[in-house]
């Protein structure tokens, strides 16, 4: 087949074909140069050079931004040795660090600095001094600093401009959360579009495995290992189809029994942890109230965070154990099941804690927001300590066990899913805590900074590159999705519930004396109403933001749009099926025509050698061959490679 095609190409080439073949054969650099050498007027050349100037400016910006990138060398080294799935963890860590840096700048600039500059800064009561224990518990001396909600004032600072501290606090926090949400939504949508929506269900297929060979791996050992694993994966994908049909009914029943049992156990564990945290909080409360407590009241506040972090470290090991017993049909489902259970555990613990904070704490303390802020501070610090310990146990000890004590286990791999979930959880704590403690991002920045270097050292010393390749892009989508939906949305709803329903404390904080935090907006609108030039703001507030009809209409319109797009997608799917059938038919046409042309060509050559002259017959045949061939070129443009330049 190929041979006959080549013969035809040789015998009837067209001019365009020649140029295209020549361009494709050149490198991209020379392509552009050659195209540029085409005779054009001076106007065109000036236009080209001017657009180049803009492009050159864009390039200089890009190179400056690249040199400023944090940790670029380290990330390249990690990506080269361990591949892109491990690199995703570090990329996510850097991204979350940037969130915290932005939050710190915004909070410090708009809330803390005005407070410090004005005379309204809080005064520390004279009998409290700084002891070392504050770093762990967050109470004591820190309670009187700008660390927590309680130290901020509710007055309007009159200086060069009227700076309303209440409004500043409210707007800074809410604008930051909304911006975070928007950034997450956009990155989730773009990641979903690139990585998930375009991939078929056949993600274990051979082509996907072959095309996702990681060219950036430079380590010889890693390359050999990847080759080994690719071979194993290819063999698995070949035998998977055979294996699936071989399960009998009794085996299937046993499989389902195991699934049911492990899911029941996991849910039970998660619920049990939540309940025990609740009872622990209540116990701590009673201990604090009774007179028996005064042994070391502050150290006892560390009990709840300690238990919470301990649970978060130990229970996932049980989940991994269950996972080993179950056999899922694909590795992807296995990872998803494990992830889901871990997320369930952390959400239930966090949910119980938030319920306790929202319901019980406001009744018990006069100044309750700083109490919640301190509790979150303690959680963040203890979580950090446990993360470091977890790195020690998870990676260092596993390495020691795997190489010296039980060589059969081998060097451990870097567990990307578990580590990513840990940093997502840590970031959630910070997001919840921003309302109660505006400077909590500082702690978070330090924590993530140290964690990056710690994990990098642990990775390079203790772990080996992951055995299974591929699917890094899908995991990245899942991680961003997890970051957004349970964790960020949960944090946002906690803060929103606090601002909406709970009464701020009477004697401290920027919202003292109000019924709820949102009435700040009401008061501001009243002030704005007094000026006639800004009546439109009041109109928008009353008729758009406060009216229910508006939201109802918007929801209805969005639902209708979703339905329309869904139907469009169905239509496109059917179109794809039809087009595929059409391509197959065209292929059959092509082979039929090629055979006919070969026969024509052969017969025309034969008649030429016989008659020794160009008769009208052979001319007709060769022009017919040319026409047929140009028709084929038009219907199969893919055969001549696209000459696209770098753009």
């Amino acid at each position: 087949m190929a041979l006959s095609k080549n013969r035809l190409v040789v015998s009837c080439p067209t001019e365009e074909q020649n140029l295209i073949k020549e361009l494709v054969a050149l490198s991209t650099t020379e392509q552009i140069r050659k195209i540029r050498e085409l005779p054009v007027s001076f106007e065109e050349k000036k236009h080209v050079s001017r657009s180049n100037l803009i492009r050159r400016f864009g390039y200089s910006i890009k190179s400056v931004s690249q040199s400023l990138q944090l940790w670029r060398g380290i990330m390249k080294e990690i990506g080269g040795k361990f591949g892109s799935s491990v690199l995703n963890y570090f990329v996510l860590l850097k991204w979350l660090l940037l969130f915290n840096i932005f939050s710190f700048l915004v909070n410090f600039g708009f809330i803390t600095i005005p407070l410090l500059v004005s005379d309204l800064s809080p005064n520390v009561s004279p009998n409290v001094s700084f002891r070392g224990l504050e770093l762990l518990t967050g109470a004591g001396y820190f309670n009187y600093t700008v660390m927590y909600y309680g130290s901020y004032s509710n007055e309007t600072f009159r200086g060069l401009v009227d700076y309303d501290m209440q409004l500043a606090y409210f707007f800074t926090i809410s604008v930051y959360m909304v911006l975070c949400g928007l950034v997450l939504i956009f990155s989730m949508a773009s990641s979903f579009k690139k990585n998930y929506a375009l991939a078929d269900a056949a993600s274990n297929s051979a082509w996907q495995l072959l095309c996702s060979w990681d060219f950036s791996i430079t380590n010889e050992k890693a390359v050999n290992q990847r080759k080994n694993n690719l071979r194993i994966q290819l063999k698995e994908s070949l035998s998977e189809k055979a294996h699936r049909e071989r399960q009998t009914t009794s085996e299937q029943l046993k499989q389902y029994g195991i699934y049911f049992g492990s899911w029941l156990l996991s849910t039970g564990l998660a619920v049990g942890c939540g309940a025990s945290v609740f009872y622990l909080c209540q116990y701590e409360d009673e201990v604090r109230k009774s007179t028996y407590c005064c042994r070391n009241p502050e150290a006892e506040t560390l009990l709840v965070p300690f238990v919470v972090s301990l649970m978060n470290m130990v229970i996932p090991l049980f989940f991994s154990l269950f996972n080993k017993f179950e056999q899922y049909s694909s590795q992807r489902k296995q990872i998803y099941a494990l992830l889901f259970r871990n997320v369930l555990l952390r959400i239930s613990i966090l949910g119980v804690l938030c319920y306790y904070w929202m319901n019980t704490v406001p009744q018990k303390f006069t100044c309750w927001e700083p109490m919640v802020g301190q509790a979150l501070y303690r959680l963040v610090i203890v979580d950090f300590i446990f993360l470091m310990l977890g790195s020690l146990f998870g990676e260092f000890l596993s390495n020691v066990i795997g190489t010296k004590i039980q060589p059969r286990l081998g060097v451990p791999e870097f567990d990307v899913a578990r580590n990513v979930l840990e940093i997502i959880y840590a970031q959630t704590l910070a997001w919840i805590g921003i309302y109660f403690s505006p400077l909590l991002p500082v702690i978070q920045i330090l924590k993530f900074f140290i964690l990056f270097y710690l994990k990098k050292v642990s990775l390079t010393h203790n772990c080996q590159p992951p055995r299974r390749s591929g699917r890094a892009a899908q995991m990245k989508t899942i991680f961003i999705f997890l970051l957004f939906i349970p964790f960020f949305a949960g944090a946002l709803s906690i803060v929103a519930y606090t601002a909406w329903s709970l009464t701020p404390s009477e004697h401290c904080g920027p919202f003292r004396g109000l019924n709820n935090t949102f009435s700040v907006i009401g008061e501001w609108i009243d002030d704005v109403n007094k000026l006639s030039s800004t009546q439109w703001v009041v109109w928008i507030y009353q008729n758009v933001i406060r009216s229910e009809i508006f939201y109802f209409l918007i929801t209805l319109i969005i639902l209708v749009l979703i339905y329309i797009f869904w139907q469009l997608i169905q239509g496109r799917k059917e179109l794809i099926v039809l087009l595929r059938k059409q391509i197959v038919n065209e292929g059959k046409d092509k082979s039929f025509l090629l055979e006919k042309l070969v026969k024509c060509n052969d017969s025309s050559h034969a008649s030429q050698t016989e008659s020794r002259g160009r008769g009208k017959e052979s001319e007709d045949l060769s022009s017919g061959a040319k026409r047929g061939f140009s028709r084929l070129q038009r219907s199969h443009p893919g055969h001549v490679g696209p000459a696209t330049g770098p753009e």
């Binding site: 190929a2 072959l210 390359v223």
Partner: protein, 189 residues
């Protein structure tokens, strides 16, 4: 426009920036690494050409299973011996850079996988591709039965016009469904 001594002229630097996907730092780094590969007397040559064996000593290419094919694809020499000038080297880095588009990457990936350079991926090309990625020695190869089944699975999935080979459009179609491709088809100095 070749390289003179050990300095890149400013206008050639900006021209390279326009014609490739690389930034200024990347081009300068590439120039430094390239001149390190040259001998002393070759450095004064206006447009030096480095033979393939020397290029393959670069750590980024040394362990790559496709190292010889990469050099052959990007080489502009008449003998097709895989030797690279500095501009070929920049072309290589540009195609493998972060900012190269999916079309460029898939185009070059197709040419790299096309071991016999006939413009399509037929059975022989696919077999060599699988062998390249799974191992060259006898005990690490797939058996011929497994190979046959694997390649027929591959062709089932990607050969849309059912002619037994994978042409560039079909290859690009498969690549567009593989989200990992863009991030893994990368070589950074």
């Amino acid at each position: 426009m070749g390289t003179t001594a050990s300095q890149l002229a400013k206008d050639s630097l900006s021209e390279y920036q326009e014609l490739t996907f690389l930034t200024k730092q990347e081009i300068l780094l590439a120039h430094r690494r390239f001149t390190e590969l040259l001998d002393r007397d070759e450095r004064n040559h206006p447009n030096p050409r480095v033979p393939m064996e020397v290029i393959l000593t670069l750590p980024e290419l040394k362990s790559n299973p496709f190292k010889t094919r990469i050099c052959q694809v990007f080489s502009t020499s008449e003998d097709k011996d895989g030797s690279l000038t500095f501009e070929d080297f920049l072309d290589l880095l540009s195609a493998f850079s972060d900012s190269a588009t999916l079309e460029i990457k898939s185009h070059y990936a197709f040419r790299i996988f096309d071991f016999d350079d006939d413009g399509t991926l037929d059975y022989g090309d696919l077999e060599k591709l699988v062998n390249c990625l799974t191992g060259e020695t006898e005990d690490t190869r797939l058996t011929s039965e497994e190979m046959r089944q694997l390649i027929s699975n591959i062709l089932d999935e990607s050969d849309i016009d059912k002619d037994g080979t994978v042409n560039l459009s079909e290859f690009q179609h498969v690549i567009s469904r593989s989200p990992d491709f863009v991030s893994s088809f990368k070589i950074v100095l």
